[in-house]
Symmetry: C2
Subunit: 249 residues, 2 copies
């Protein structure tokens, strides 16, 4: 296979930072509706005959549309569903920036989103806005999936910075040491500070008289979502990518 | 037909104000990509055989999915496309709050959006993010359509406040006087001030070090979109609704 283009962390930073807005906007949009648990129950309010939940139905139907316009041929997009149709558009040639890999943590992402993330940002109860809630869920899940799988690009850039160091840990299959070497505590602390500032700016209620009021989602909650969920899952992608990295030299 | 539930402007205000966030978030999301004119050209980068643009293709495919989950059976949702499939879910009974009407200004909305609104918020040029741009377009168009057609509810509430006054103007088919009577200059001035405050809060760039920087879309531009486009089109919906209002007593 062709050599990879050199990949620098600085080249990825702009996209990672801009994705924070997309994620925070999507979470704020979802939080305007109640939890609506029936949306996530298999059979709950899904069309008759569909084996999953209404949220999974809308996700599958949306992914079928996006698959036809070749969304999942881009190396930074990952579907949640299997059995998607082939693109109806000619394929684009992407310059190879990472090694080909089948890593996809969307099942874990979706389970965590439904079981832990949503109850932390939505008021409990049922407001009957099932369709609106599920449309927001699709946007949230797509934004989170893109961010988490960006770990492949981050891992490739870090590997290229320190080939010998990573290769030794990869050959030793030392996941703990890989995780430690991938972790930059200062970058993470800055990120958590930044997303809290963003959540405060983007999530403030501005009332009818343009006076600032409460937050739609507490900024500390958004930071916690990054700290407890987005960052660890991104690093899991990074470790999995690195463990495969030497198999395709 | 059954009597309408009494409709008060105060009951609509919360939704109208919350829709501002959805619209501003959607515009900011679209503005991260260049204009990408090929997305709006018939045939440009649409699948072979589709008669419209790529944006129209994605809009149509998305609306087919949403139609099947009965989005357009809600009186505050209006499709852009014709020939949509029937819902696969049982229909919900909505308590009648407005008179049934076929008013739908989405063709005008879409034309203005593509020709005037987008060039005002996107950098010129082509960055090849066609799919991402069109996904954002669908979110923008759906949010704008909901806001504009909320004019039906606003007009009904205003009619109920002043039946005799509006009925005389409706019988005289006096569109100019209807428009004048519907207009509340103070409410509009407050709205423009509020959306500029919101656009400044939600559209501020927050850099890697959490320092506040420039705006993603100038707050004055967002206020101008409301003043020159969203408010006038909403009022057109209101006038059209009132002109039909006496036909179904």
């Amino acid at each position: 296979m062709p050599d990879l283009e050199p990949l620098l962390l600085d080249d990825l930073r702009g996209s990672l930072i801009r994705q924070e807005e997309t994620i925070i906007f999507a979470l704020i949009e979802r939080a305007q509706f109640k939890l609506n648990p029936i949306v996530y129950q298999p059979g709950g309010c899904a069309p008759p005959g569909f084996p999953g939940s209404f949220c999974e139905y809308l996700l599958y139907e949306t992914e079928k549309v996006h698959a036809r316009v070749r969304r999942y041929t881009s190396p930074d997009e990952h579907p949640f569903c299997r059995d998607l149709p082939a693109p109806v558009l000619p394929l684009l040639a992407f310059p190879p920036r990472i090694r080909p890999t089948a890593i996809n943590l969307n099942d874990r992402l979706k389970a965590h989103y439904v079981e832990h993330l949503l109850p932390g940002i939505c008021a409990p109860g049922d407001d009957q806005n099932y369709g609106s809630s599920a449309v927001c869920d699709v946007a949230c899940l797509q934004a989170l999936s893109k961010r988490i799988h960006y770990g492949k690009f981050i891992a490739e850039a870090k590997f290229q910075q320190d080939r010998a160091g990573y290769a030794a840990l990869i050959r030793a299959r030392d996941r703990t040491a890989l995780l430690a070497r991938l972790t930059d505590a200062e970058v993470e602390a800055n990120l958590l500070k930044r997303v809290a500032v963003k959540a405060a700016a983007y999530g403030q209620e501005i009332g009818a008289d343009a006076r600032r009021e409460a937050y739609k989602i507490a900024p500390a909650r958004v930071a916690a979502i990054y700290e407890e969920f987005i960052i660890p899952l991104t690093k899991d992608v990074e470790v999995l990518y690195l463990l495969e990295r030497l198999e395709r030299p």
